[in-house]
Symmetry: C2
Subunit: 221 residues, 2 copies
């Protein structure tokens, strides 16, 4: 009673493989089921093929993830309105957003000097803003590196908190309880400043302002 598997040829035409479709499928899997689900085999299955077929378009898993990061960064709006500071904040927030909404991608950014098309577009735009702010070449150059590092780290942190199993609030509450139970003799500052450590507020915006103000006050070289 069982029918033999329908030959590939007889089935409806399958979307042809390409680097692009593989990358987008990877991003979909990441968003739907997280970093652990992002395996070559899973991507292949989603595309109705075997894992070996992916290697025609992608060197390996790291290469795929780098391409996924680039794709995600391609969705960052490169221009914004407002003051100079507003524009830096907008570009920075969009970059963090783009990285942190896909679990594990920020870590890729932390692991290599940016060389992909869309990462370089973000960097180029940030560099233009920094030069507009009156920085000399060296300071602007070092600053863009520092800011990009910070954005990737902020995205990695955010991504870890929002994705890892439970809710962000649970993670914070657990840390708060841990801090509350510390020995004040061993950890005098943490115990006495615990309130401040968990105080609410826009830390991302503050952190970026720290960087901007610091860069303005600290010539490189």
């Amino acid at each position: 009673m069982s029918t033999p598997p329908i030959s590939r040829r007889a089935r409806p035409a399958k979307a042809p493989l390409s680097r692009d479709v593989i990358v987008r499928t990877g991003l979909d899997i990441l968003d739907r089921d997280g970093l652990d689900a992002l395996t070559m085999r899973r991507v292949a299955k989603e595309l109705d093929t075997g894992p070996a077929s992916l290697y025609v378009y992608v060197a390996n898993r790291d290469d795929l993830m780098a391409a996924m990061l680039d794709e995600a960064l391609g969705r960052v709006p490169l221009t914004a309105d407002g003051t100079w500071r507003d524009q830096i904040h907008a570009l920075a927030n969009a970059t963090v957003e783009a990285m942190s909404r896909h679990e594990g991608l920020a870590t890729v950014a932390l692991g290599a000097i940016p060389t992909s098309d869309n990462a370089l577009l973000v960097l180029d735009r940030m560099l233009a803003l920094l030069k507009e702010g009156g920085l000399d070449d060296t300071t602007a150059a070092w600053a863009v590196d520092l800011i990009y590092l910070h954005l990737a780290a902020a995205a990695a942190e955010e991504s870890a908190y929002t994705t890892k199993g439970g809710e962000e609030d649970d993670t914070i509450a657990a840390a708060d309880r841990r801090y509350a139970s510390l020995d004040p003799r061993r950890y005098p500052m943490i115990t006495s400043l615990r309130q401040a450590l968990f105080s609410p507020g826009d830390r991302d915006a503050w952190g970026l302002n720290v960087l901007i103000n610091g860069i303005l006050h600290t010539p490189a070289g």
Copy 2:
């Protein structure tokens, strides 16, 4: 002619398993053969047992890596001489050092709010220095978070460059060539500032000074 395997009981006494010896063995493997070699099975083999035995002392691989990070941070000297700035730099450099010399550990720090004994000791000491600098509680609290994030990111980056296959210089040279080949119309700032982007200098010290100066000029809240 072959002898049967000597029974466990007959062999020289094996060092007893413990969380501590597992953690230190993990660190050894990381240093000797890198992150990919750090598997539960490899740790077990090094300790002359099976992977299942590790789970008595360690919840899983993530737990092991977190414990390894804590062990590494335990080697950070918490006090230093010099000016206020010198002391911050010394603590920061030692922290980056501790993380970056073991491939992949910095990433662990980026993925969770610090709650381990030795991470908290570093934080407590940094908090004391920040308060000494005259910061209010909230600013000091937010600042220690920001600095720790930056140190972990700096360590992750450094670790990636120094460990990943070839030499650091090769990675930079490759990036430089890539930047040199970019279309100036699409990447006007990167191409015109390429010299500055790859200019030598102590970027770590500069980056930390940016943070310190920025924090001093940017009250939180």
